[in-house]
């Protein structure tokens, strides 16, 4: 033991991350969310830069710049969208090298190159931003040098503002004193058109077009357009040109028979019958316009039906202010998306549909270029359809290079260059509602087969054996074929991620996730979180929160409110509809199951069917229950006691049925942590912490014989310390070494029959509080197969986006306080307690990555005892996964093991030996003869 301690001291730091392992053992999906049609564009970050980036403000309110080469995120800012239904906007402002975002009451400009804030404007009194335009789109059309921003806000009285593009200061402001609901603005070279809907209960609704002077903001003119009475809100407007020589406003009648187009400034709308030969129900109408002042005045209207899409191209005569239909866009089956791009003063439409990548010109119906659209790069069981596309086109020597980022209905966002996929971002991973590690079905092992043989008759066993050998023979050619690759991999590869399905180390674990849009996906933890399969959840309806649970033997269950499906973990095949079983089991006894239900004001234990209340736990007066946590269902403990320096032991209090109740009292600013025996309802330990900011997260975690929680210190007391605290509490059977207290030599115990077994005695509790530098919002711990490896306490810190693994030894509550450790304590590895716990950056599992929005931490043991697999996710946040070895990889060869060098050394030694043979022989001979003389 002493020797082992000495060896352990010689080892490098327990957990160590090396630069060559970072970004390889871990993977990260940085969440953007689904891109929005009107807030996504290709744009050059600086005036003089050649390459453009893709900028998007997603429906999650996350603004990001994506590299079109590989799909990586260059920068992002979370604009903290509070309300999901509000619209958000993004426009470029390249004169000042920024992109300007508008979300709720905030308008902010961000450096396009690196994502730093240029200016920000918060106008709580003026309402939410409903439209944002950049005057830059006018190009040289605008009079004067400034490239400003026009914002429309929907306060009590709607407001149109012209903001200085450099500073965000208001240059002029037009207030619409009527109670109209504002829609937005459109610009021509000289005028600004402000569109609002005048909807009175008595009269019929009317669209108002107010012409404003671009320079002064003065109202010049107002035109009222009559619309059908079923036109209820501004959401019924299909399209408003951002900028055009003759901007148009488009809407349709409710029946979707006629399209109404108004050239702004004219007094009437022109009506066009919608071509719909097969009389399908048109689900969606989208207008694609160039949004460039210099481009031809053409526009494309696309119609989406359930299983087909088609369109019409219109040309506007700016002189006569008339519109005529130019040609039809062929009807194609399924869904399709159009990306509009302008090159050489021509409008090109890149049409993406199943198998087709077609470039069209707005001028004439001929196909300009046509490519076969390869695979979408998504392993999906269903056929996701393209629903949104943004593109760029370049013409060189009559050849077109068209690239487009396409959003699929599966939430995958991919870039295609002339029909070839370049990369895919799985944006659906930002909408995870539940996730679980799932065991893969194992093949019948050799051990099982041999057992089968030994349990049958001789003849049967012999036949079975012959069959087994024949089966093995079949795989021989494959095996021989794979030898060179295996050797190469073991010599030059990293040896652990060979990608073969035998997976002796148990690193290829699948994480099954369900998303808010009704998808179920499997991620391979050993291959950078690659999506193994993806499918729609059968019977899913919008707005539900699907939940996934895994059962052994390679089966997962996905439940929504109405549906319950059973899937195969390995392939994702839908197996059958599931049957609902009894709710989650919290604790079990020999006789029956006690179910625990946490309620707002109490925790109750039930037994039997129909449930009978066995016990209730009431929190202290004035407190409400915030959380109830249990020990993980699989929580192996290898050592039932802690060994002291003098070889005596302190027995751990190991009760599988304990639960930790967190209750908070917001008025008194206290938090109470109560440890319950969930079978008997007995209170084992309770503590009340004063000065807790109860509005901030209080994460808890319970495992083995310890629990931990973290909280933010309240600012109520003028003198008390401020910051964040982390508490670790350990439970022992008794305070005395080699003593189990009332349990004595008992082999088993019962929670219910305390009197006879003495098990319901209070554990001996010892706790220590540490000040940590950052707020912790989630706590968990690494888990290994047998629980031999030391553990890391996983703490997610939302402010720095870091997932840290704190060695449990650093938090040991038995660290002596106020004195140096004695010799025995030193031998045990205990150091003097200091209240400040510095979180060493080397402990950061997420190292240089910024992992945002994690709400759940999952851990799973690998088959290697040294290794634990960690998966972090959150709705609206990132996915982060890492493989960690808290005590170092002691059971597999690491990367530092150089096989080539080892083989080289052996070979050199052999050669030297053979070379030395004649010399030694001659020498020995000479010596013998010499001695004999």
């Amino acid at each position: 033991m002493r020797f082992l301690t000495a060896v352990a001291a010689l080892l490098p730091a327990a957990f160590a991350l090396f630069p060559d392992e970072a970004y390889k053992l871990d993977y990260h999906h940085a969440a953007l969310g689904l891109p929005q049609r009107h807030a996504t564009f290709f744009h050059q970050p600086q005036r003089d830069s050649k390459a453009s980036l893709i900028y998007t403000l997603s429906e999650l309110g996350i603004l990001g710049a994506v590299n079109p080469k590989d799909g990586s995120l260059i920068w992002r800012q979370n604009l903290n969208q509070q309300n999901n239904s509000t619209k958000s906007f993004l426009v470029p402002s390249s004169t000042y090298g920024t992109v300007v975002s508008g979300l709720e009451t905030q308008i902010a400009a961000w450096s396009a190159k690196d994502g730093r804030l240029a200016w920000s404007k918060e106008q709580a009194g003026l309402g939410n931003v409903v439209d944002l335009k950049s005057l830059e789109a006018l190009g040289n059309g605008e009079v004067g040098p400034s490239k400003d921003i026009i914002a429309t806000l929907d306060g009590v009285t709607a407001t149109v503002q012209r903001l200085d593009g450099n500073t965000g200061e208001t240059k002029w402001q037009y207030t619409d004193s009527s109670s109209d609901s504002p829609y937005g603005v459109s610009m021509s070279r000289t005028h600004l058109y402000y569109i609002s809907l005048h909807g009175s209960i008595i009269g019929s609704p009317k669209l108002k077009v107010t012409t404003l002077d671009l320079i002064s903001g003065q109202r010049l003119d107002q035109i009222t357009l009559s619309v059908d009475s079923d036109f209820t809100s501004v959401a019924d407007i299909i399209h408003l040109d951002a900028v055009a020589p003759a901007p148009i406003l488009v809407w349709a009648d409710k029946a979707r028979k006629n399209l109404k187009v108004n050239i702004l400034g004219t007094k009437a709308a022109q009506s066009f019958p919608i071509s719909n030969e097969s009389n399908e129900v048109i689900e969606n109408i989208v207008v694609h316009a160039a949004d460039k002042i210099a481009a031809p005045t053409h526009f494309l209207v696309m119609y989406d039906a359930e299983d087909a899409h088609w369109g019409e191209v219109f040309h506007i005569d700016t002189g006569k202010l008339s519109i005529k239909k130019a040609y039809d866009i062929t009807r194609l089956a399924g869904k399709g998306a159009i990306a509009t791009s302008v090159a050489d003063n021509q409008i090109y439409y890149t049409r993406i549909a199943k198998g087709a990548f077609i470039v069209l010109s707005s001028e004439k119906p001929d196909v300009v270029d046509r490519y076969v659209l390869g695979e979408f790069g998504v392993k999906s069981k269903d056929w996701p359809a393209p629903i949104l596309a943004h593109g760029e086109i370049n013409q060189r020597l009559g050849k077109y290079a068209a690239r487009a980022v396409v959003l699929l209905s599966s939430g995958d966002w991919f870039l295609t260059l002339n029909g070839l996929r370049q990369w895919t971002r799985h944006e659906e991973l930002s909408y995870i509602t539940s996730a679980t590690f799932a065991e893969l079905p194992r093949k019948q092992t050799l051990v099982q087969q041999l057992r089968e043989e030994s349990h049958s008759t001789i003849v049967a066993a012999y036949l079975h054996r012959v069959k087994r050998h024949l089966a093995a023979l079949k795989s021989l050619p494959n095996y021989i074929e794979s030898i060179p690759a295996q050797i190469q991999n073991s010599l030059f590869g990293n040896g652990t991620t060979s990608g073969d399905k035998t997976d002796p180390f148990g690193l290829h674990q699948h994480v099954i996730v369900t998303t808010a849009h009704g998808r179920v996906m499997a991620l391979d933890t050993a291959e950078q979180g690659k999506i193994v399969w993806s499918d729609k959840i059968a019977g899913f309806t919008e707005g539900e929160t699907p939940v996934v649970t895994a059962t052994p033997h390679g089966i997962i269950r996905v439940k929504t409110n109405l549906a319950h499906g059973v899937y195969d973990t390995l392939t994702g095949n839908f197996l059958r509809k599931g049957k609902d079983t009894v709710p989650k089991v919290a604790g079990t006894t020999n006789v029956t199951t006690v179910r625990v239900l946490p309620l707002q004001d109490r925790v109750a234990g039930f037994v039997g069917e129909p449930p009978v209340v066995l016990w209730t736990f009431n929190p202290p007066a004035g407190s409400t229950i915030q959380e109830l946590t249990y020990r993980p269902a699989v929580d192996p403990v290898s050592n039932i006691a802690d060994v002291l320096g003098d070889r005596r032991v302190l027995y751990k209090y190991l009760n599988p049925n304990i639960g930790l109740v967190t209750s908070i009292n917001p008025t008194a600013q206290t938090a109470t942590f109560t440890l319950l025996d969930t079978v008997s309802g007995a209170v084992l330990y309770t503590t009340t912490t004063p000065a807790v900011d109860t509005t901030q997260p209080i994460p808890t975690f319970l495992s083995e014989n310890w629990f931990t929680y973290s909280y933010t210190l309240a600012a109520s007391n003028a003198t008390a310390a401020r910051g964040y605290a982390l508490v670790l509490t350990k439970l022992y059977e008794s305070p005395h070494p080699d003593n189990r207290g009332p349990l004595g030599t008992a082999k088993s115990f019962s929670s219910l029959h305390a009197a006879t077994s003495g098990a319901a005695h209070q554990p001996f509790v010892i706790a220590r509080t540490f000040f940590v530098p950052e707020q912790i919002s989630r706590l968990s711990s690494t888990r290994t197969r047998h629980g031999i490896t030391t553990r890391l306490l996983l703490a997610y810190m939302p402010n720095s986006g870091a997932l840290t693994g704190i060695p449990l030894a650093a938090l040991d509550p038995r660290r002596p306080a106020g004195r140096d450790p004695s010799k025995l304590e030193m031998e045990e590895g205990l150091t003097r307690y200091v209240p400040n716990l510095e979180l060493d950056p080397h402990w950061t599992l997420s190292h240089r990555r910024n992992v945002q929005g994690v709400t759940e931490l999952l851990t799973q043991p690998a088959r290697l005892e040294s290794t634990s697999i960690v998966f972090a996710y959150g709705y609206g946040g990132d996915v982060f996964g890492v493989r960690t070895a808290p005590s170092g990889i002691f059971d597999a060869l690491g990367k530092e093991f150089n096989r080539v060098q080892m083989i080289g050394t052996v070979v050199v030694l052999l050669v030297l030996t053979f070379v030395a043979v004649p010399f030694v022989g001659r020498k020995g001979n000479d010596m013998l003869w010499g001695m004999g003389q």
């Binding site: 509005t695 003028a718 400040n836 240089r848």
Partner: protein, 237 residues
């Protein structure tokens, strides 16, 4: 497990925020952070008192701007991937006066350090400086293979020394003057001196079959004869 929504509390707290001030926090260049412009765009400043904290992203001008800070005593923390920043205590008086100090984690809130700037009640903006205190290192260097590190190992040093002895001693013997040699041999015979090189070879750990194989005695080993005794017999002859 069901986290409670605290938004109701926040709404209740809002009307209490009567007057507020604008605070600009600058990041000066120091020897730890030579160029603040290299800080990544996800660097942010968090100003916390009771309830939801205020958050400001880093700007193009290497500063953080909090446009509306309510009166109270706030804790400022700045989080960045590359460097660790000091914590500041920022007091905003209802009058609009702002003062700031260094503060130390785990210490009493009244235990403040150096002043870091502020403003008078009449000023429109408070300017405060926050400094980087340490660089953040995330990776360990992997111990790489190097010849010198091998040479430094005591095992290798011992091996080299003994090799030198094995090779060198016969030469020393040869170059000794005859009188010394005779004396040395006499010492050897009496058994007090160094053992003879031959028996040295024979008694080496690698001895036995391997040594005799090296000496070219294949037949002896093959015939199963004890090569050691065989050699000794020959010596006697």
């Amino acid at each position: 497990m069901w986290p409670l929504k605290n938004s109701a509390l926040l709404i209740l707290a809002l009307p209490l925020l009567v007057s507020s001030v604008r605070i600009q926090i600058d990041v000066p260049a120091t020897h730890i952070l030579a160029n603040p412009a290299t800080l990544p765009s996800d660097t942010k400043a968090v100003l916390s008192s009771n309830g939801s904290p205020l958050i400001a992203p880093i700007s193009r001008h290497n500063n953080f701007v909090f446009a509306d800070v309510p009166p109270g005593s706030h804790l400022l923390s700045v989080y960045s991937r590359d460097v660790t920043f000091e914590n500041l205590r920022i007091d905003v008086e209802p009058s609009g006066e702002v003062a700031s100090w260094q503060t130390y984690r785990g210490n009493e809130w009244t235990n403040t350090g150096e002043q870091r700037g502020g403003c008078e009640a009449a000023d429109t903006q408070a300017n405060i400086q926050v400094r980087a205190v340490a660089k953040r290192e995330y990776y360990y260097d992997r111990p790489s293979f190097s010849a010198t590190s091998i040479l430094k190992s005591p095992m290798i040093l011992i091996a080299i020394f003994s090799l030198a002895m094995v090779v060198g001693i016969p030469y020393i013997m040869d170059n000794m003057d005859p009188e010394m040699k005779a004396e040395f041999e006499a010492m050897q015979k009496s058994g007090t001196g160094a053992t003879a090189t031959t028996s040295n070879i024979q008694n080496m750990d690698l001895a036995g079959d391997f040594a005799s194989w090296m000496a070219g005695k294949k037949t002896d080993t093959a015939s199963g004869g004890d090569s050691k005794s065989d050699t000794q017999q020959r010596i006697k002859r």
